[in-house]
């Protein structure tokens, strides 16, 4: 019995969970939406996704190796997620050089300046997306029509998103009932048959991803349900007050990347609160801000801004919203 044994404090076993398992789990959950975007936008979707992912990996590698001179951790899967999410958030005909700038801003400014994975305050993909939206408003809002697998890359027919149609129509004084006839049916919206950025269009695929992540326990229901639920309630109330001025809840849920944001971006581990109560407050904040921006603001869509604004509140939420302690006296 001369075996050398380890002496360490308990626990002596581990669940086997790892950062990679969670990150690649999220990637797997995004696959249906990715396949849908290839199906609707063809070649363009493929070019945009590959460019975004490759440049995210490259920038993370270069920054870690040569600027920070720290351990290179590109294998953790987080750069892959940022790349795919960035691609999901842009039109499928976006020129390659703009995508590369987006990736640099996402990884460089959104993530690495804060110290890398785990330390960033804002969702990196959204930082990149909003930067592009403000810098290249024309390219970022010319949405290709979903014409199918044979679609080309740059030379495609473009059109407005449903939210933009409604916004401009209402601004020029047209009644909502007339505008609604110009946009695709709810079923088409759910299946993604509309103009928009790559990942936002296919509600069905995004919901499939959500179900997968819930089953695998990668995320909990708190954020997606509170984001989508609060949008439904808020727009429902507005719709009841004046059905000619405000579109109904289903329309708001199925358009403008609300599902993409609520399922894949608001739930980003690093930039969302730690406790269940905190997650619900954060989710409701995103839902309410989204509706306020969409309905009363200048932009037709508000999910990205709403998430980034609520990201900034996360540290505050973590300090003031504590989980329910065991044995705490009920007030």
């Amino acid at each position: 019995m001369n075996t050398k044994v380890l002496v360490a404090p308990s626990p002596h076993v581990h669940s086997g969970d790892s950062i990679q398992k969670n990150m690649y789990g999220v990637v797997f959950a995004m696959l249906p939406a990715l396949l849908f975007s290839f199906f609707y936008f063809g070649l363009g979707a493929l070019v945009v996704t590959l460019t975004a992912v490759a440049s995210c990996y490259l920038f993370e590698f270069l920054i870690q190796k040569y600027i920070l001179q720290s351990e290179v951790t590109i294998n953790d899967g987080s750069a892959l997620i940022t790349g795919i999410l960035l691609a999901f958030n842009v039109p499928s005909n976006l020129p390659i050089w703009i995508i590369i700038i987006g990736a640099l801003v996402s990884i460089g400014i959104g993530k690495m300046t804060f110290g890398g994975l785990g330390n960033n305050v804002f969702n990196p993909a959204l930082v990149g997306r909003v930067f592009l939206l403000i810098s290249f408003p024309v390219q970022m809002t010319s949405w290709p029509k979903p014409t199918g697998l044979s679609s080309g890359y740059i030379d495609v027919e473009t059109g407005a998103t449903p939210l933009a149609i409604i916004k401009e129509g209402l601004n020029s004084g047209q009644p909502l009932s007339k505008l609604m006839s110009e946009i695709p049916s709810n079923m088409d919206l759910f299946l993604g048959n509309m103009g928009g950025s790559m990942g936002e269009i296919a509600g069905a695929a995004l919901v499939l991803g959500l179900i997968y992540m819930l089953i695998r326990k990668i995320i909990t229901w708190h954020i997606p349900v509170s984001v989508i639920g609060s949008v439904a309630i808020f727009t429902g109330i507005l719709h009841m007050v004046d059905p000619e001025a405000y579109a109904g809840p289903l329309f708001h849920i199925l358009t403008g990347g609300l599902l993409l944001g609520g399922i894949f971006m608001a739930t980003d581990y690093v930039t969302s609160p730690m406790s269940n109560k905190g997650m619900i407050i954060y989710g409701i904040g995103i839902g309410v801000l989204t509706v306020v921006i969409r309905v009363f603001g200048a932009y037709p869509e508000g999910v990205s801004f709403a998430i980034l604004i609520m990201n900034a509140f996360v540290p505050l939420i973590n300090v003031y919203v504590k989980p329910k302690r065991f044995g705490e006296k009920r007030k």
Binding site: V5, S10, P11, I19, G118, M274, R325, G327
Partner: protein
């Protein structure tokens, strides 16, 4: 829906390898070393000296206060020496080392197998004799049993809860006791009920032991006031506060004892030891332990004499496997890693687990990705990620404010963390320091 506790919890692989192995008697060793501190509280005071002859069951160290416990000889023979030796904690502690000669028991101990259901002892007598017999909580905490039975003035016990959860993976000693000593456990439970003057007892068993639930439910019809409560398998349900929450849906307030909500919790093994002490005059000189591990030849359950060296039980189970990386006294979640196989098995030894090197090696720590999983599994509703950071930064004020002292050290956070962060290591460090500061303030 099966009952379970209110917040958090995990479900690690159960690995109850030895569940079907009946309890066997471990051969008496040639030499036993019996530490005088095998319980929470003041160490006992030795009452024997070198060369004294002792018999099985004879008092060899006397309780030295209210929170302390008597120690009895587990063998017959001659005291070899009273000396400091290393025990399972890794520290050198005073132990009474006895050279075994024969197996001669004190005469008043009833060694027959006959079941005695008639309880003649009075409440006061029971509490006194439980104390005399040196009985401590056998679930692993080893808190002297008579202290819990002495309800403080102004408080009343409403219900006795018997902890038969055995939520630690691998361990099966309580499971076997229920199957093989079911009647004795139930009589023991009734003795405890009498001592506490309660007419209700609940035995909480996790539903990964359906045979034990069925067996005790059948037997319990013969005993008044005992209810068997099947529970959803969920770690750390064997924690006192968690078990109370699971069985009677009451939450013991932070810093308070179970009696605050009218409950007293005793382990199922303790109930058996109480039966033996009151009905058979037998002090706590032996108990059941599981020896287990995936590479072990023969995972099994043994009745051993207190003070038997760890290596004996390993030999009995087929010897130490080649790939052993860690020897754990207790279960994989809360057990203590041993540094030697020469240390003695004691009153608190519920099992011994030999973990293969690959299974127990810690992986490299990564940056916290703030996934919140540690918060969601914490059964006390704490924020392990935050406590770790505060402990690291020596921010003891914040640690205290964020309830670090509520931590029951179950290890669910470290077990779950996808970044392999040693959360509990840091929290323990912080707890120790905050405890010191709080005591200094008093």
């Amino acid at each position: 829906m099966l009952k379970t506790f209110s917040i958090g919890g995990i479900h690690p692989a159960e690995n109850k390898l030895s569940a079907d192995s009946a309890i066997q008697a471990l051969p008496i060793p040639q030499m036993v070393s019996i530490p005088i501190s095998q319980h929470i509280g003041a160490p006992a005071t030795p009452v024997v000296k070198k060369n004294d002859e002792v018999k099985v069951g004879q008092l060899i160290a006397k309780s030295s206060g209210f929170v302390s416990a008597n120690i009895h000889s587990s063998v017959s023979g001659k005291v070899f020496k009273v000396d400091d030796i290393m025990d399972a904690s890794g520290f050198r502690r005073t132990s009474i080392i006895i050279k075994v000669e024969g197996d001669e028991w004190l005469e008043h101990i009833d060694r027959s197998e006959k079941l005695l259901t008639e309880i003649s002892a009075s409440k006061e007598e029971i509490i006194k004799r439980v104390g005399d017999a040196g009985i401590v909580g056998l679930g692993g905490a080893t808190f002297p049993a008579h202290v819990k039975l002495s309800v403080p003035p102004g408080k009343t016990a409403e219900v006795l809860i018997i902890n038969a959860v055995e939520c630690e993976p691998y361990l099966t000693s309580d499971h076997r006791i229920m199957l093989e000593k079911g009647d004795e456990v139930l009589v023991g439970t009734q003795i405890l009920m009498k001592a506490l003057e309660v007419n209700k007892a609940i035995i909480g068993i996790e539903n990964n032991k359906p045979d034990a639930i069925a067996h005790l439910t059948k037997l319990a019809t013969n005993y008044e006031g005992i209810e068997i409560c099947p529970l959803k398998t969920q770690y750390p349900q064997g924690g006192e506060k968690q078990l109370i929450s699971a069985t009677i849906k009451r939450e013991v307030p932070s810093g308070a004892l179970p009696i605050e909500v009218g409950a007293v919790v005793q382990n199922v093994g303790t109930a058996y030891a109480v039966y033996e002490a009151i009905q058979k005059n037998k002090p706590l000189i032996e108990r059941v332990a599981t020896i287990t591990g995936k590479s072990l030849k023969n995972p099994s359950n043994w009745m051993f004499r207190i003070g038997t060296p760890v290596k004996d039980i390993i030999e009995a189970a087929g010897g130490m496997p080649e790939d052993t990386g860690k020897i754990v006294g207790g279960g994989p979640m809360m057990g203590k890693a041993l540094s030697s196989v020469d240390v003695p098995l004691t009153k608190g030894s519920s099992g011994l687990l030999l973990l293969p090197r690959e299974e127990t090696a810690r992986k490299a720590t990564k940056a916290c990705i703030r996934c919140g999983k540690c918060v969601s599994v914490c059964p006390m509703g704490l924020e392990p990620y935050l406590l770790m950071v505060c402990a690291d930064q020596k921010n003891y004020e914040r640690l205290e404010k964020d309830a670090v002292m509520d931590c029951i050290e179950c290890g669910s956070c470290s077990y779950t963390c996808p970044a392999h962060r040693p959360l509990l290591d840091y929290i323990r460090l912080g707890k120790g320091k905050v405890g010191q500061i709080m005591r200094a303030r008093k």
